[in-house]
Symmetry: C2
Subunit: 218 residues, 2 copies
DNA sequence: GTGTAATATGAATCAGTTGTCATGTTTATT
DNA sequence: AATAAACATGACAACTGATTCATATTACAC
């Protein structure tokens, strides 16, 4: 992956002692808070170091620029969201069930980590490359799972990548409408509609004449 | 609508002579280009006036701040997109057909007006209120049409607003993947997948056991 | 405990940016 | 042609915010 080199991102100097470790963390926590509250562009490095309680110069010991600490947080966020959704979805069987639970888990994540999630909304403007990496990598994984589910005949056969983008859009926009804007879960009626849309849209096994005739496995 | 007062936005002084009209337009065109290329935050007023070929002070004759010219462009964009999609969709019958054609028209719009469309992506960060107005107003209209189609039995009965957000997300994300990122229309296979997803997801008349029993028209 | 690398500091530098203003020109109106 | 309103100019005051640097302290290997 081009954004990461080894474990660390470019422009980030990991600390080497435990004292350094502590300030590094303080900076990250402060940045997460302030970015979340005011957004990337309205936040200054001074805001970050003030909240972290360190001096200006200290910031540049660990991060080359303001953008670099932002990137670091975004990559972290990426892992967190995936972990949260994976965890919720793992015990379930069948793509459709996973898909439904996944959507709810995603909405939960937004509610529980508004600040962190807001970074993602900023990402497109701050670093378009990283933004593409983020959704591209998400989509690739997603498509892989969808393809597997198609193999198993759990969902209708179609272009997995296109489907992945449809589903991501659906998740993001519903997550925006209720969790993000209203700060509460989507109401039952909405969830029901979304679930039915997913169910019919993906095509459950019971669907008769819908998809192309199932290919025989080679 | 709270964002507009009369015909003009706050913070915008419309010109009163035809000379003024010309510079006003030059400024808007320049702003559209530069915002589109570099994004809102990376663009300075100097960038705009340089491209427009006018002096600094002239800018402030017509716009109170940089944000105000941005808002003006966004409202313009909102009308343009709607017009473009409406026009493409008007001659068709049936919600599903309109939905399909609408998605293609939206993708076309992105391809033909990249710069203008990019403003929309910036909007969320620049002015969250206006952003909510934008999608909220879009969704409301969308939901109204969907509700009508439900009445007519063209699509499955469900929560129109939730459905509207699903569909907007689907449009935006597929529009991002191909038109925006690759600068070309979505490939045939992807379109087919998206269309089928829409078709089954919305529930077409041919669907037997899916929706609630069709109500007889009054 | 000595020396070296790591960590911390905050004042100073530097590269912009926005928005204003005094001055001058053009246009519309009479 | 006179006049007032509209339009245009570009220098500049006032400010914001990112990054650097000389200096000082602390941690750790030996």
């Amino acid at each position: 992956m081009s954004v990461l080199n080894g474990n660390a991102l470019e422009g980030v100097n990991k600390p080497k002692t435990s004292r350094g470790e502590a300030t590094f963390r303080k900076l990250l926590e402060a940045a997460e808070e302030v970015f979340g509250e005011k957004g990337y562009y309205e936040t200054s490095v001074v805001d970050i170091i003030t909240r972290a309680g360190v001096a200006q110069g200290t910031f540049y010991l660990y991060f080359k620029t303001k953008k670099d600490i932002f990137r670091h947080l975004v990559v972290h966020l990426h892992h967190e969201i995936r972990k949260h959704v994976q965890l919720a979805v793992a015990p379930l069987n069948g793509r459709l069930a996973k898909e439904k639970r996944g959507l709810l888990a995603f909405h939960e994540f937004i509610l529980q980590h508004r600040n962190l999630y807001r970074l993602l909304r900023d990402l497109e403007l701050v670093d378009e490359e990283l933004f593409k990496w983020y959704y591209g990598s998400f989509a690739k994984n997603y498509a892989r799972r969808l393809a597997k589910a198609m193999e198993k005949g759990e969902i209708r056969r179609s272009d997995p990548e296109a489907l992945a983008y449809c589903l991501m859009g659906l998740n993001v926009f519903t997550g925006m409408r209720w969790p993000l804007w209203e700060n509460k879960p989507a109401p039952a009626g909405a969830v029901e509609t979304i679930f039915t849309f997913l169910e019919k849209g993906l095509g459950n096994p019971g669907d008769g004449p819908a998809g192309p005739p199932p290919k025989e496995p080679p």
